[in-house]
Amino acid sequence: MTSAISLTGLVKTFGTTRALDELDLDVRTGEVHGFLGPNGSGKTTTIRVLLGLLRADAGTVRLLGGDPWADGVALRARLAYVPGDVTLWPAITGGEVIDLMARLRGGLDRRRRDDLLERFDLDPRKKASTYSKGNRQKVGLIAALTSDAELLLLDEPTSGLDPLMEAEFQRCIEEVKAEGRTVLLSSHILAEVEALCDRVSIIRLGRIVESGTLTELRHLTRTSISVETFRPLDGITGLTGIHDLTVDGRHAVFDVDTAHLDEAVRHLSGLGVRSLTSTPPTLEELFLRHYDGADKS
């Protein structure tokens, strides 16, 4: 399988700040790749390197088989981009911006444009200075989705959208995926990433700290168990990989490292299970675990 984006050892510094610190990222052709991290972790800087706006200080950058700094124009003809905060020209209408961007990209599919305007319920005749944050974001999204670019770089594209529009956006990305196109979706809305993404990379302080499919990542995390047993809960404190245990008579609630799940379940079944609920780890927990540590360090 080929890679649409491949970054290895990417370093970018601004003055004394090391915004990207030997970042590795691999996005395969045809996948929707979630790019997770809080504000300031380096997501936007990475995307700007991919757009050829910033020159990498070290490392290799491959985008659609080329180097975005050297062959930027040819590569950018094949991608579409939505910034996290769409800023527009105050005196130009949303419809004009969408047309301009499509033409600068190489052509305008008017039927697709009108269809998207209707789906996102946007009035194209309003001057940009009168649009709300959510409507500006819609202009950026429609401008990108109108194109048939093979790669979509989306930098927190849904910030400011209401839940209805968020759902519409997810449908659009499903369609893009069905057409075999590639999406890099930077976000900190975890539900969106869980719903859309095949694989996920988590960035922290300019480095990728986890990367893989959601299933793979779940293995690295804990499962929450709530259990009631027939016999008293002896020996449960001695098990490895148990966290946040509370015992109330024959009822226990705890988290267990997914790697030690089997061991814990065997022990419990030895005690006779009356009822058991297990909750798989959410992306949110995964995310918080990486960042809780970051705050303390």
């Binding site: 020159r55 981009y81 004009e96 961007m101 033409r103 600068l104 309003k126 001057k127």
Partner: protein, 528 residues
Amino acid sequence: MTTTAGAGILVRFMLRQERRGLPWWLIGSGLLVGYQSVGSQDLYGTPEALAKLRATMTGNAALLAMSGPERLLDTIGGEVVFEIFGFLAILVGLMNMFLVGRHTRTDEETGRGELIRSTRTGRHAPLVAALCVAGIADLAVAIVVFGAAAGTGLPVAGSVLLGAAAAGAGIAFAAMTAVAVQVFENPRSVYGAVGIAIGTAFVLRAAGDIGNPVWSWLSPIGWGQRTFPYAGDRWWPLVLPLAAGAVLVRVALILLDRRDFGDGLLPYRPGRATASWALRSPIGLGWRLQRGSIIGWTAGLLVLGIAYGSFADSVEEYVADNPEIAQYLPGGAAEVVNSYLALVILISALLAGASAVAGAMRARHEETSGRAEPVLATRVSRRAWLGGHVTVTLAGSAVAVAAAGLGHGLAYGIAISDPAQALRLAGVALVQLPAVWLLVAVAVLAIGWLPRAAASVAWTFVGYCAVVAMFADSFNLPDWSRQASPFVHLPQAPLDTVTAPPLLIMSALAAAVLTAGFAGLARRDFGY
């Protein structure tokens, strides 16, 4: 008084926001008055010189239209008021317009006003606070103008009146803006409407000074001039701007009570749903972004040219009456008309250059505001992006320079009954174009290599060229210190004979500097 709750806090907050901008308006007002006062006393300090000036001016409609009522020429202080009051009032009017507009309509549009109104502030508080800030600024103008006039040796009583008259014009325009922000939802429309009102006030007072004085009484600028500072010191017209201000503020508050927050009586008009055929390339975008200022500057320079040109015919007589003037003309007394035209065309070219530098700096603003980023995420290269902006700027400056020359030629041609002057002087003005382009090229060079300092570099260079062009002779600046100004190296048409080499060399230099600027942009990080 609950509708004005919180206004006191807002006044302090607004003054804090204005602490960087406001001093420049005050410095500008002070310099305008002080510079004119020193200059006039130097030129017309004696009663004979003043009498000769009166003789030249009497009945010269073009000059009266640009200046003020003849009665002011009775004293030297009045002569200062005659020359600058109209421009001082425009400056103070613009200051008031921006002060009031920014803290009311613009705040409502950006949503900042919503944040303020969500606290314990009354409905009228932002408008009342903005008007208080404008009032404080006008008081400061009065003090600065008084200081500049009295400090340069003009009588104290007249100087107080001059300061008060300038502040009065400011108050009237602040109150007009207060009404306009209720009417228009779009801040640009507010500034447009008040700008037209200020222009109309200037035209009305011009009509009053040339013909029937009744017209002047319809204009806040006319009210100020007709206090006749130093030439009779008439105090009662100061009541007029205060009364008009009170009425207009009352109207504004009534309108404010009848509209919803964020709305205006005249809402935004819907725009185009689809882009026109022209908006399809970086040049199309550059034109769309710059067309307003290019059209505005072209029209402004055409009018300025007509004003300058209409005086060209009488300049010979004027210099004969006032021989001291000749030292300020590059060709001296020998070729008075041509050296006058060379000087005013140079000034017009400098103004066109300043507007072109502002156009070029727009590209940097596009970069830092993040608006350029999505454009560069398409198949537009940086070279094409900047090229689009700069091409429009260069072409626009050519049109503006030609319009200035055309204006000179039209007015001068009508005066001497020679229509061919229009095209001749348009061509003459275009001789300065390579230097204007070099100003743009330097701005682009700075954008390419020193992006953060680009605005300072570009504007310092413009300021330097203006100082060299206008003050080098009066200040006796040494020859070497003028050499960096491109205008020095071009022929001063129509005084000098125009030859091709200086024009070609200057154009080639501008092209080389532009190329270097583009190369700088291509190799640096974008957006920082």
